[in-house]
Each structure stands twice: as structure tokens, then as C-alpha cells.
Subunit: 137 residues, 4 copies
């Protein structure tokens, strides 16, 4: 519970995520849901969301989930597959679930959906995390 608080504080202190209007909807150990509404700045000339903003939302949910254990944990890499486009004004939900942890590493799956937490899939993301040691990584 203390570590969940740490993850929550991490997100609140994260100007980048909050400036984009991201909001933490759920947080448990190894699990997080973050939502974000697609604004005009996040879409291209055709009104379609930039892949980069979809990635950023997924990455934020991933960061919350992997930091929910307590120790400071960073992304070492990620893979994203774009499933369907999302449009200006739509609300996106990124649902992050821990898949496995081993040593200082972890794998987290994040599904980004639109309209609702169980809405149509927009993207599938898989992040690789690594716990950072006090004396560097």
C-alpha cells in the first residue's frame, strides 16, 4: 500500500504526464489504469491520434504498474503495435498488467482502449522494466 502511494506520487510529480491531462484511474501492485483525452495537439492533420501520444499513455500506465512494488524502476525498452486509429476528443484508457518479474527485470503488458476501459483496442504495448540500484544501474 505504501508502494502504491509511491507510484501515485511519482505520477503526480510528473509534470509531463499531468500536462497531457493523464489521470490515474486504478492502481494496485502490478496493475494500473491511466486515462487521457485526445486533444487537438495530439492529432495529425487528419484528426488521427499520433502514435507517439498513444505510446506515451501506455508508457505512463506501465511506469505506474512497475513502480507499484516500491523500488525505483525504469523502462529499459518497449514494443508497441498499433491496432486501430483513435480520434480527437476520444478518451483513451491504458490498462497495464504485470506479466512476469525476474531478478531486477519485469515485463508488463498494456492494452490501450478507446471510449471505455473495456472499449475497442487501439494499441498493444509490452514494456520491459529494470529496478535501478541506489548506486546507478
Amino acid at each position: 500500500m505504501g508502494s502504491e502511494t509511491a507510484a501515485r506520487r511519482m505520477l503526480e510529480a510528473d509534470t509531463a504526464s499531468t500536462a497531457l491531462g493523464m489521470e490515474l484511474v486504478e492502481l494496485r501492485v502490478g496493475h494500473a489504469v491511466v486515462r487521457m483525452r485526445l486533444t487537438e495537439q495530439m492529432v495529425n492533420g487528419h484528426g488521427i491520434a499520433h502514435g507517439g501520444y498513444v505510446f506515451m499513455l501506455a508508457d505512463t500506465a506501465f511506469a505506474c504498474a512497475c513502480n507499484s512494488h516500491g523500488p525505483t524502476t525504469v523502462a529499459s525498452g518497449a514494443e508497441i503495435t498499433f491496432v486501430a486509429p483513435a480520434k480527437e476528443g476520444e478518451e483513451l484508457f491504458a490498462v497495464a498488467e504485470e506479466r512476469t518479474r525476474y531478478g531486477r527485470n519485469g515485463i508488463y503488458d498494456v492494452t490501450v482502449r478507446r471510449g471505455a476501459i473495456d472499449g475497442p483496442v487501439v494499441a498493444e504495448f509490452r514494456g520491459r522494466s529494470r529496478v535501478v540500484q541506489v548506486n546507478g544501474q
Copy 2:
């Protein structure tokens, strides 16, 4: 040459990328370099760049390179590995190179460096592209 112009116009019309201060430095068929300075909004509480913004820069260079052939081309997915942190105020360069194309698909490698076009590596990105048909994909 006409298609390079198309890629250039695509980026100029892209409010999201230009709002982040991204600038197209080089553009040839299958190749693009885009630069961006890390502002306060792009870093976390420790002054370290958000992985999402590094991804967005790489993704933009990838989009320029894969659209340099002419036909409208979108990202179907991407993989990124974070190599080293970058800090507020630093300038990042994303260098995109076409690796292979087959059918309507393509693979592009993007290296993000800091300080200079041949500076230390910040991230390695590999994008998968797909040409969009007029009647949908």
C-alpha cells in the same frame, strides 16, 4: 524529389511535432534526420527526458523516412530500447534509415543521439511501416 517534398509537407502540417519544436534537418528517399530540444515539459522530476518524448522524436523521423517514397505510409508498430538518459536542455537528433521494404511493408531503424548528429546514443528504435491504400488498409 516530389515525394521528399510530400514528406516535408507532412511534417510541416503536423501540429503535434512542430508544437514540440521538432525540426527536419535532412531528408532523402529512405532517410531522415529530425532534431528536438528537451524542454521542461518533456522531463520528469529528476530532469531526465520521458521515454515517451524520445519515442515521439524517433517516430517522427521514421514517419518522414517511410513517407519519403510518396505513398501515404503509417506505422504499424515499433520497438524501442532506451540506452542512456538525456537531460533537460539537451538537443536530440533522430537519424532514420530504411532497412528493407517488401510488399506494402517496410522496416526502418532510428538511432536517437544527444548533443550532435553523431553524439552518444540515447535510444535505438525500429519501426514497421505499411502503405495505406486509397480504399483503406
Copy 3:
């Protein structure tokens, strides 16, 4: 049910997989479990399983799961993360689950475990599938 039979026949006709001793343990639409015992030919000088054979097992479970819908479906790509080593003589289980399908594409997650279907994780695999059209892809 007819399509599950198709996936089962596909595996039985697959000399490569059967020559390695792979056996289909479970098969439902979008789900498959395949097992394989690590023989002397599959390990390196240290008695540790080759990543390639772990990949091959995961890839086979993935193929069964994505062909369980009926239409001929091939792998367009995959990502694997090696979590822990496996040793000569151990039995591996690859559990494949469909994650999402869109158009002619699909994403399948496969976890490879050792000793039992719910044993310790050896690798996490994510495959991208594509339905092949009669007139080519």
C-alpha cells in the same frame, strides 16, 4: 471445432515440430498448449537450452493458436524475452493465448514454462500473425 481440427492436422503434418518431439496438449479457438522435452541436441556445451529451440516451441504454440480460427495464418514477426535458463532433460510447456485480432492481423502471447504447465517462466513471447489470402498475401 472444424478449425481446431485444421490446426491439429497442421501440427501433425509438420515434420519439423514432430521431429523435435513437440506434442499438442491443449487446443481451443485462440488457445494452444504445446510441450517438448529438451534433448541433448537442443542444449549448448553448458547443458543450457538454446534460445532458438525455446523460440521454436513458442512459435509452434503460436501457430496452433492463430490457425485455430480456420483460415491459413502465418507469423509476420515475433518478440521473445528470455527470462530464465532451462536444462537438458526438462520438459517445457508453451501456453499461447490470443490477445487481439484486427483485420487480417492478430497478436498472441506465449509463455514458456518448465516442469509443468504452471511451472517457472523460461521465456515470454509475443507473435504477430497475418491471414494469408488465397491469391498471395
Copy 4:
């Protein structure tokens, strides 16, 4: 040069790779070329090479390249995209190049081609390596 010898010995001692007929064609620090002929056991009922064997070839070239520096280095993960099919009897060449190294990690790109070292592309592979410490990883 001593470390190249180490990589060469590693491959020679690797029963799995040699049993598949893999042969080291070139080896320099951070670079390796391995070839393999597609036998009947490596193809499916349609005479098309199994993705798993293509992966295994790429993975072996990757292992040679990342071990060419000397310290024992293992694959922590890999991504492969299948570009075009290869057929029974064809000879495949996997060309591995180091992309970047940082700390104990490395990224290597491997292109698998058929018929010749500069033949048509069959697959693009990117491997992530990690140096193993004497007292475990």
C-alpha cells in the same frame, strides 16, 4: 583476435548449431556471418522454411558477434520480422552487425538472406545481449 577465437570455439563446441549444418563464414569483432542450408527437416508441408529455423540461424550469428568481444555474453531477448519465405534446399546467410553497446548490454542487427550473402532478404532480426558475470547475472 583472441576473443574472436573464443567466439569461433563457442560455435564449434555448440552441438545444436553444428548439427543443423551451420558454418561460420566471417568473424570480426562485433560482426559475424553464418550460413545454413535448409534441409527437409527444417521445412513445413509446403516446403517453406520454419520461422524457428530462420530465427535459430539469426540467433547463432548474433551469439558469435556479441561474444566476439571476449566476455561470455547471452541473449536477453530478440525481435524478428519475417520478410519473405525461403525454400528447402536454399542456402541462408545471416549477417550480424553490432549496433550499440552500453554497460553490460548490446544491440545487434542480423539480416538473413537467401542464395548469397547479398541475396534477397528473408528476415530482419534484432537481438539484445547481456554480458554474464562470473557470479551469475
